[in-house]
Amino acid sequence: MSDPTIRTAERIDLLAAETSEGAQELQFRRDTASGQLGREVGAVLRVDGRALDPHSVDFDRRDDETMIINMGPSHPSTHGVLRLMLELDGEFVLRTKPIIGYLHTGMEKTGEELSYVQGATNVTRMDYLSPVINELCYSMAVEKLLDIEVPDRAVWIRMLMSELNRISSHLVWMATNGMDLGASSMMIYGLREREMILAFFEKTAGLRMNLNYVRPGGVAADLPDGWQDDALVICDTILARTYEYDDLLTGQPIFRNRMVGVAPMTAEEALALSVTGPLLRSTGVPWDLRRSMPYLAYDEVEFDVIVGTYGDNFDRYAIRLNEIRESIRIVRQCIDMMPGGDYRSQDPKVTPPPRARIGESMEALIHHFKLFTEGFHVPAGEVYSAVESPRGELGCYIVADGGPKPYRLHVRGPSFVNLQAVSLLMRGGSMSDTITVISTIDPIMGEVDR
């Protein structure tokens, strides 16, 4: 075969070259600079010291003693399209490097093309396990720029939906984590309970995932009739089932052996790596934006911030399980305290006229048309808003130039940052621990790559 672009059995090197990512991959030690090597073995600079901790880095390995293997991007337990390259000494992991970007969607670029009204459609597809919270973060940023007040009922609806979403996200995490560890029944249970919440979402917003429900100015629709009963059934059932999970997993010896004491992290390491969410809380830092920097009406509801001690896999599991219970507490309070009133701001700048008026008033029709074709203009400025997503601090940075579209939309995805802890957590662990480590970091690749 003369044409070099055609892959044949003889040109097997082309096959490898096609999926190679060159310098992004894990290189031999002799080709790696010391700073990068330190990163790959999981050395984390201490907050108080400038140099690498020499005891945590084993520089004096030779390349012919170790083996570099590839894991992913199509691997059953990498939770999507994460690709890891590991340097192994027998069964033990020496260096790890995550290679990401296999789901890079260009959402930040697309976000600059869409108006503020349409923007929620875009961001909801980033972290596909917690779409409501993504929309919430984006909407809060836009509302800060517009300087508008959201009515009370909308605030509480947002809180109710966020917490339900947090429950469903943690349930999927429990399910996939169970599957990774071979507890396949947990997989079925987790997805079964999640269907109850998705049914509630479908009733409220019309879609199961990617709701586009929270929008700048309020929410898209009011809660359906009888929502209290549905929500109460969800609370009661799932709370009872969390105790079944306890029976199934928490005390089970095989599960405990793979989780307790595996891949610990200290608070200093977590802070230095900018890790947030359950990973940070598992190290004993009580940092939850809902409590520490309250948004919505989280300062009016009662809940506990769950904190771990050792920062190991089991702490991360226990935190997520108990956060389901805390979220159920918040949902119950939302049911009791839900105020009446409008579900979206009545500011005509951001809110279209009601459907009934469009039929009788020409101005209302024009207003509606303008709002959904051109969108509303947002005053120039730049703003950063942050909310607590199930994975940590979700931030949205918007630069507005006074037009109907964001000039720059940047999203700080918690999984993207948390994924940096992977080298630290895997170091010295055995090959089978990599599965539990990836699982308990809980990276959502849509958010990592955006």
């Binding site: 310098a23 260009g106 697309t110 730049e382």
Partner: protein
């Protein structure tokens, strides 16, 4: 809080904004780190090619690229945003890797998508785009890459 010579202004929603020069940038972040800002939450870059007349406080010269760093103090429950003008043709600022190791991936992302260079970054390679990609897609002079949608065999009027 900020050392003398750094322009400070109130951003939206009472976020504190600092506008250091490129030379002051690293020292400013270091002083913030020593001042109980334990976490660097976010590093991102903005390309102001189409929006050069943006508002900036007195004494700050606008350049095309700007690097925005968000710091968070857990003990004070305070956020501060540092906006540094990174330059026009060859944007370059100091890497914060030695102060906050967690900025490694964020700086790589800013390099990959906007082409901002970070001095002394341990591994400044592409992170999201394929290795052989040309250009930096989030720059304003880089097209969206839209493929026109055509409906070739659309059904006729019913």
């Amino acid at each position: 809080m900020a050392p003398p010579g750094v322009v400070v202004s109130e951003g939206l929603a009472a976020d504190l904004c600092c506008f250091p020069s490129r030379e002051q940038y690293f020292a400013l972040i270091e002083s913030f780190r020593d001042d109980a800002f334990e976490m660097c939450v976010d590093v991102c870059a903005v390309d102001y090619l189409d929006y050069p007349d943006r508002w900036l406080p007195e004494g700050v010269v606008a350049t095309r690229f700007e690097v925005v760093t968000n710091l968070l103090s857990l003990s004070k429950k305070l956020r501060v945003r540092v906006r540094v003008q990174a330059g026009d043709d060859r944007p370059e600022v100091a890497s914060l890797f030695t102060l906050y190791p967690g900025t490694e991936a964020m700086e790589r992302e800013a390099f990959d998508l906007l082409g901002v260079l970070f001095t002394d970054h341990p591994d400044l390679t592409r992170i999201l785009m394929p290795e052989d990609w040309e250009g930096h897609p989030l720059r304003k002079d880089y097209g969206v890459g839209k493929v026109p949608v055509q409906f070739k065999e659309a059904p006729g009027p019913r």
